[in-house]
């Protein structure tokens, strides 16, 4: 029989049992929509995450005192100097063996590694008495090498300039401190920090990141203001690298250099943790992928229920059409003709379910993403404006939908094709 005629008969079967067919299609629509929504939200989250991480300095490696077994994947990463997101769940890596502060000697050694553009130590801590125009507040202070501030800090300036070599008694203020904590802050004004006067030389843009609530000052000044800090001992070392494709190699070199510097044997745990943004990205992406996979598995269950619905409908159709199958066979239809008709029938159900499922999935994923956030694991949270529906996803779910239809219809179609003409003709 011609494909066109088989197709028309298959369509006829669907449209002459409208309610049953549409209920069956609804089962597939729900399954496909759930998969599209979950996967597209997952992909949207990954893209948003990638964009956020890219806004950070991808070429910054952080070295922190103390060792974490999770270190390789990025324990202890702080987004502070990147100015972007706070990956709270990946912090607090100081769970290891003996802890030793990173020193000026370490920074000197790291600056000698080939792919390192600049390495700089920094310290940070809260200062209770920060006063401006009579108003006092507690503020986080970051002490860094003023010569490299423009290389390390990625948050743009709102006004003024970054710290530069030779700066002393100068500070750069975070956007929220300038806009909310205090008022009427401007460059070249004086601010009192820990009882000492500092000149404001720059104000950062308010970006929503950690830099908003910080004041940057030269490390020599910060040591004298933040309690418990010692000269040439750092809370962390930031390493800016030249070629990010060599990140892993550079991490290894940093580790080896510091292990040797700290006289730690190769088979012992180091007393520091080296974290690259790349490893953070990998870990968060991996977490999101796992979540998407888990949710997709749940969505797949509804698709399986839909598939059972198709099978049930197909068995009913075959039962209803038995006499017509007998007539077609009496007229000369081959088993393959009957098989084709019923496979097309279930395939069309899968196709229509796929079309409406994708539409519903796209609409619902956009809605769900807009009203909710996506957890980044460990307490971090990221709001999403859109979900990402890739062409591959659409093609994939269409294929799955049609395959589900064909597979579910295979057994009923086979049984229909094997009906003996005389038995089929005798059925009422």
């Amino acid at each position: 029989m011609k494909f066109k005629r088989s197709f028309k008969i298959a369509l006829n079967i669907i449209f002459h049992s409208k309610v049953r067919s549409w209920l069956t299609i609804l089962g597939i629509v729900i399954g496909i929509a759930a998969i599209v929504a979950i996967v597209s939200i997952g992909q949207g989250a990954q893209q948003a995450l990638a964009q956020s991480l890219n806004s950070l300095n991808a070429n910054i490696i952080t070295v922190s005192p103390g060792f974490s077994r999770a270190a390789g994947a990025g324990a202890g990463f702080r987004g502070g100097f990147g100015g972007g997101q706070d990956f709270g769940g990946f912090g607090n890596a100081r769970s290891g063996s003996s802890q030793k502060n990173l020193t000026a000697r370490d920074v000197l050694l790291l600056n000698s590694i080939s792919n390192v553009e600049v390495a700089t130590g920094y310290i940070s801590g809260g200062v209770d008495k920060v006063t401006y125009l009579g108003k006092t507040a507690r503020v986080n202070i970051e002490g860094i090498d003023p010569a490299v501030m423009k290389d390390i800090v990625t948050t743009d300036l709102s006004t003024g300039r970054y710290l530069v070599k030779g700066d002393s008694g100068s500070v750069v203020i975070g956007g929220r401190i300038a806009n909310s904590t205090f008022s009427n802050i401007d460059i070249n004004r004086m601010i009192v920090i820990g009882g000492k006067n500092f000149r404001i030389v720059g104000i950062l843009q308010q970006s929503g990141g950690n830099d908003d609530a910080k004041i940057y000052m030269p490390i020599e000044s910060a040591v004298t203001i933040i309690d418990g800090k010692v000269k040439d001992n750092y809370d962390s070392v930031l390493v800016k690298i030249k070629d990010i494709t060599l990140t892993d190699d550079t991490v290894t070199k940093i580790t080896n250099t510091l292990m040797a510097s700290h006289t730690i044997l190769a088979n012992k745990n180091p007393d520091f943790t080296v974290t690259s943004l790349k490893s953070v990205q990998q870990r968060v992406t991996s977490t999101l992928s796992s979540q998407s996979l888990f949710l997709s598995a749940i969505a797949a269950i509804s698709l399986i229920v839909g598939a059972i619905g198709i099978m049930n409908t197909m068995f009913t159709s075959v039962l209803e059409k038995t006499r017509e199958i007998g007539v077609l066979k009496a007229l000369g239809a081959k088993n393959t003709d009957i098989l084709t008709i019923f496979l097309l029938n279930s395939g069309i159900i899968g196709f229509i379910g796929g079309v409406f499922g994708v539409l519903l999935g796209v609409l619902s994923s956009g809605y769900v993403a807009s009203i909710s956030g996506v957890s980044l694991g460990g307490g971090g949270r990221m709001g999403l404006a859109t979900a990402y529906v890739s062409p591959q996803l659409i093609i994939g779910v269409f294929t799955i939908s049609i395959l589900v239809g064909l597979i579910s219809g295979a057994i009923p179609a086979y049984r229909a094709s094997r009906l003996r003409p005389i038995e089929a003709l005798r059925s009422e």
Binding site: M1, K2, K4, R5, I9, N12, H16, R323, E324, V327, L328, K329, A330, L331, G332, A333, K334, N335, T336, D337, R420, P421, I422, L425
Partner: protein, 235 residues
């Protein structure tokens, strides 16, 4: 004259489980030649429909051989049988058996499409057949929009679509009024005059007068065969 259908010691037995078996055909031998007009008649349950199903290759005997155009049905595969049915035999059923969701034209086109006749050719032939049956104005009507007589005429057009050598008619007037019934029988006579082999299964004795050979079946056996030297001509 060539034998188109030959039944040789055909038995048909149904297994009834613990109740044993039921033989509905026993030792049936029948030779049908090209151009014959045969009526198979007998009381209800005598086995006449079973013979028709076996002749039409819709069913297979439990024992014995059936030859269609000299070929043993037993040795043919399902697809070969389907093709043979499509090209050699035209079925006319008492219940018409039209596909309800298709128009009269589409119903007649189906046998042509089953043997991959080009669309335009299939449509042209189906239209011609329906016009010949007086249904030129009803081409696009669904079976439910046609009277019983019109449906049977569509069924006859469908049976003739592939220009088969053999027409198998199972109680073709059973659901028709007498005028339409006479039209159908006249048409079958005309087909026979044109050289088609017509096999009519009926329990109405008035119809057997159209046939040249009348086969009487009782309890699954051929009880007698009568040759009608002067079959009824067209009315």
């Amino acid at each position: 004259m060539n034998s188109v259908i030959h039944l040789q010691d055909v038995w048909k037995r149904y297994d009834m489980g613990k109740a044993g078996g039921l033989s509905v055909l026993k030792e049936v031998n029948l030779d049908i030649k090209q151009g014959d007009f045969i009526a198979i008649t007998g009381p209800s349950g005598s086995g006449k429909s079973t013979i028709m199903h076996i002749i039409g290759a819709l069913d297979v005997p439990t024992h014995g051989e059936v030859f269609l155009q000299g070929n043993s049905v037993r040795l043919m595969g399902q697809n070969t049988l389907a093709t043979l049915r499509s090209k050699t035999i035209g079925f006319i059923f008492q219940q018409f058996n039209l596909l309800p969701t298709f128009s009269a034209l589409e119903n007649v086109m189906i046998p042509l499409e089953l043997i991959d006749t080009p669309d335009a050719e299939a449509k042209e032939r189906a239209e011609a057949l329906l016009k010949m049956m007086g249904l030129g104005e009803r081409l696009h009507h669904k079976p439910t929009e046609l009277s019983g007589g019109q449906q049977q005429r569509v069924a006859i057009a469908r049976a003739l679509a592939n220009n088969p050598d053999v027409i198998l008619a199972d109680e073709p007037t059973g659901n028709l009024d007498s005028t339409t019934g006479r039209f159908v029988m006249d048409f079958l006579s005309r087909l026979n005059e044109q050289g088609k082999t017509v096999i009519l299964v009926t329990h109405e004795l008035s119809l057997v007068s159209y046939a040249q050979r009348v086969i009487y079946i009782r309890d699954g056996r051929i009880e007698k065969e009568i040759t009608n030297k002067r079959p009824k001509k067209l009315s």
